[in-house]
């Protein structure tokens, strides 16, 4: 087991952390940086609860090694709101009732943010496809999809 010092940006702030070579980015965020908003639902890249932005791309952080984060710009759910003002995707998911147990919510919001960054005017199909990697067991998805469409309209 070797340890590596890496430098990366997390939610706008530069972080210098020492991580073992086999630690995932998810574990680094949750246990080294105490950013527990990103969740672990499967450690297998299947459920999307661990989704974060890495250089703007939505990534399953449980499938990425922490050492791969060297030099990268990472955004987690904690970085969506700025100075206490919610991101539009957070506002609309509240309004549309797209949050129940909340465990899939951080991953959903990140995927939604990534979609709107690359496609400000998505069709319903675009939204569905963007969220296809985020599983939800509570809401049935409809209200989450509506909330992303509403966020797009209002951006």
């Amino acid at each position: 087991m070797s340890f590596h010092q890496i430098t990366c940006k997390v939610n706008g702030a530069e972080e210098i952390v020492t991580v073992p070579s086999n630690m995932t980015l998810l574990t680094m965020l949750r246990e080294v940086l105490s950013l527990t908003g990103t969740k672990n639902g499967c450690t297998a890249g299947e459920c999307g609860a661990c989704t974060v932005l890495v250089d703007g791309e939505p990534v399953n952080s449980c499938m990425m090694l922490a050492v791969e984060a060297e030099g990268k710009d990472i955004v987690t759910v904690e970085g969506l709101a700025v100075d206490g003002k919610l991101d539009i995707v957070q506002e609309t998911i509240i309004e549309k009732g797209g949050v129940q147990c909340g465990f899939c919510t951080p991953g959903m919001l990140i995927s939604a943010r990534a979609l709107l960054n690359r496609n400000p005017n998505p069709s319903e199909e675009d939204v569905v496809e963007a969220l296809v990697g985020n599983l939800c067991r509570c809401t049935g998805y409809s209200r989450i999809i509506e909330s992303v469409q509403a966020a797009a309209k209002r951006s």
Binding site: L35, T36, G41, C42, E78, Q90, C101, R137
Partner: protein
């Protein structure tokens, strides 16, 4: 029960769509689930050694190599915890002791300084198991030819509404004998016999099971768990360790989905077992997604044999209903679902002759537990289809057939109880109209087909009659209201509903109400379990009573200070007003410190509390 005095005005919170109490935390990532709570460097991680075979005798367990691994602090096996535990039937131990009964059953557990070391240690534990013939079919499992999985069934403790059959694999046999089905079938012109196999499913909450346990030197236990039932869990841990309930504390943060699988106790006992030997260090056990699928709770599979007969006019005269519930290796929870399958067995139909045998059968499958619907989906799937088939066979409109046989107010159900007004026929009419039953409509896409059908179901969820809820209400210096409950926010929105109820009953705005969390059995008032869609009604009534109690105390206090009759006083949007005089006082001015008497000759009042509970007498 006093009638609610609902002051339905423009500000009334009940009946309005409000912003959920928990939603800001959840969208910002600040909501704490069990794995988010920091425990510091003393935290140990637990992993479990599991059986690779479905049924076998444990010949040898060797933990020596595992014990020698640096970082390993605790290893426990079955002989360390021999007590039988279970919610309705005490048929399981925390770890397998002399034999294993399903693939994935816990045989031993390790607590170490990291999850990685614990996992390595688990691999170093050597287990020899002599395989035995296994049971994988519940119908076969109920026969005399099936291997006996629980020879000790006759000695297992259970309440008087569970009927095990010792010497067999039948953990519960629930019977209904209404009328005379043999004679009634002779009068039927049309009879359909069908067997349905309903498969197991797993709840797949996005948050897997997790528990952290800590045992103090004096034996006091604290457990943090993703739990639907902190109080029931407290009782179970106490029984498992052989200690008194008051020595166990369960703290339950937000739950990332339960659907029934977090209602009982399963892997949490492993954390408690490890913590009891870790010298006070907390131990965290979290299931992998793979373990979540088959080592914990699943929805029981069902094999159901139905024989339903009707006359030429479409009156259903007789039903024979034989249910083989695939209970799995332990039926401590599953026996009650079988019971529900039994007394709901006619479906919501008025059938004069019913013969039901609902059996919960031990198999070497994963453990069946509570799953949303508590047996109702599985039970009705076949019944509804057979009703459709009967209608088709006699050439009767299917909706008319349903309506003709749907149970009504005044009918007697299969357990001999008279139905309250039901409104089922009206529901069928409304639904039939809304979906334009009988009108062919195109599918939404060329590769799809569209069909229409109506099914009716009912549910009696098998709760004991003394499943109680309770609540406490505290008023704070700023006029805000703190409501304590024992039920859990698992995503269903219960905290929000309780805040609406408390606000309405007290006379304050919804925004002034906070629900105290996380639920903590040391401080929170008792709640039986967060299951069965019961909280809005049961806990809601407890909250309403507690808020009304606080309201009564306030009005009595203020009434005495103002020398007015409390019946002439009201609370509107956080202000006590008089309907007779000009007197007003904001709640925040008097709910902690009291208020001066009107004639300035002294003081009255003090901190305001309200309490309420619901446990209906029979």
């Amino acid at each position: 029960m006093a009638q609610a005095d609902t002051k339905l005005g423009t500000f009334s919170p009940v009946g309005k769509s409000v912003q959920r109490l928990d939603v800001l935390e959840k969208v910002t990532g600040s909501a704490h689930y069990t794995d988010d709570i920091p425990f510091g460097n003393a935290l140990l991680y637990g992993r479990v050694k599991r059986s690779p075979v479905a049924h076998g005798i444990i010949k040898r367990i060797d933990i020596s190599k595992a014990q020698a691994l640096p970082g390993v602090k605790v290893i426990v096996t079955g002989k360390d915890f021999p007590n039988l535990v279970g919610l309705y039937l005490k048929d399981k131990t925390i770890f397998a002791i002399d034999r294993v009964r399903f693939i994935g059953e816990a045989i031993a557990a390790v607590a170490a300084t990291s999850e990685e070391i614990a996992e390595k240690a688990v691999d170093l534990i050597e287990v020899d198991i002599e395989p035995l013939p296994a049971v994988f079919d519940a119908e076969f499992g109920a026969t005399k030819d099936a291997p006996l999985l629980h020879p000790d069934l006759g000695n297992y403790e259970c309440p008087n509404f569970i009927f095990p059959v010792p010497g067999t694999n039948i953990a519960n046999h629930f019977k209904i004998r209404k009328g005379n089905t043999e004679e009634a079938f002779k009068k039927c012109t049309t009879i359909i016999e069908k067997k349905f196999r309903i498969p197991h499913v797993q709840h797949v909450p996005i948050e897997p099971h997790i528990a952290v346990a800590q045992v103090e030197p004096d034996g006091d236990v604290t457990v943090w768990a993703s739990s639907q039932s902190p109080f029931a869990q407290r009782n179970s841990f106490a029984k498992a360790l052989g200690i008194s309930e008051s020595k166990v504390r369960v703290i339950a943060p937000y739950v990332g989905g339960g659907f029934g699988c977090k209602a009982g106790v399963t892997m949490e006992n492993v954390a408690v077992a490890l913590a009891s030997k870790s010298g006070g260090r907390p131990v965290k056990v979290r299931l992998t997604r793979e373990e979540e699928f088959f080592t914990n709770f699943v929805r029981q599979g069902l094999i159901i044999n139905l024989k339903i007969g009707c006359d030429a006019e479409g009156n259903v005269l007789a039903m024979e209903n034989t249910q083989y519930w695939d209970g799995g290796a332990s039926t401590e929870y599953g026996v009650n679902i079988t019971r529900a399958g039994g007394y709901n067995s006619s479906g919501p139909f008025d059938i004069p002759n019913v013969k039901t045998d609902a059996m919960c059968v031990y198999t070497n499958h994963p453990i069946g537990g509570a799953y949303r619907g508590f047996g109702m989906s599985e039970l009705h799937a076949g019944i509804i289809q057979v009703m459709d088939m009967l209608a088709e066979k006699i050439g009767m409109d299917k909706t008319e057939f349903l309506k003709k046989n749907a149970i009504q107010g005044g009918d007697f159900n299969v357990t001999g109880m008279k139905m309250h007004p039901v409104g089922l026929q009206e529901c069928i009419d409304v639904v039939s109209k809304e979906i334009k039953m009988g009108v062919k409509e195109p599918a939404s896409a060329p590769h799809k087909k569209r069909g229409k059908g109506i099914g009716i179901v009912w549910k009696a969820p098998s709760m004991p009659p003394n499943a109680g809820s309770s609540s406490e209400v505290r008023l704070n210096e700023d006029g805000s209201v703190t409501v304590s409950v024992g039920g859990q926010e698992i995503g269903q929105g219960t905290f929000t509903a309780m805040a609406q109820i408390a606000a309405e009953a007290l006379g304050v705005s919804y925004e002034m109400v906070k629900i105290e969390g996380p639920v903590d059995t040391r401080y929170s008032p008792y709640e039986w379990q967060t299951v069965a869609s019961r909280l809005t009604w049961s806990m809601g009534n407890a909250v309403r009573r507690a808020a009304e109690d606080a309201r009564k105390n306030i009005l009595e206090m203020v009434g005495e200070a103002w020398k007015e009759n409390p019946a002439d006083l009201d609370i509107k949007e956080g202000v006590v007003i008089s309907l007779k005089s000009e007197n007003t006082i904001p709640l925040k001015n008097m709910v902690v410190y009291g208020l001066s008497r009107e004639d300035d000759k002294g003081w009255i009042g003090g901190p305001v509390l309200g309490r309420g509970s619901l446990c209906l007498p029979m």
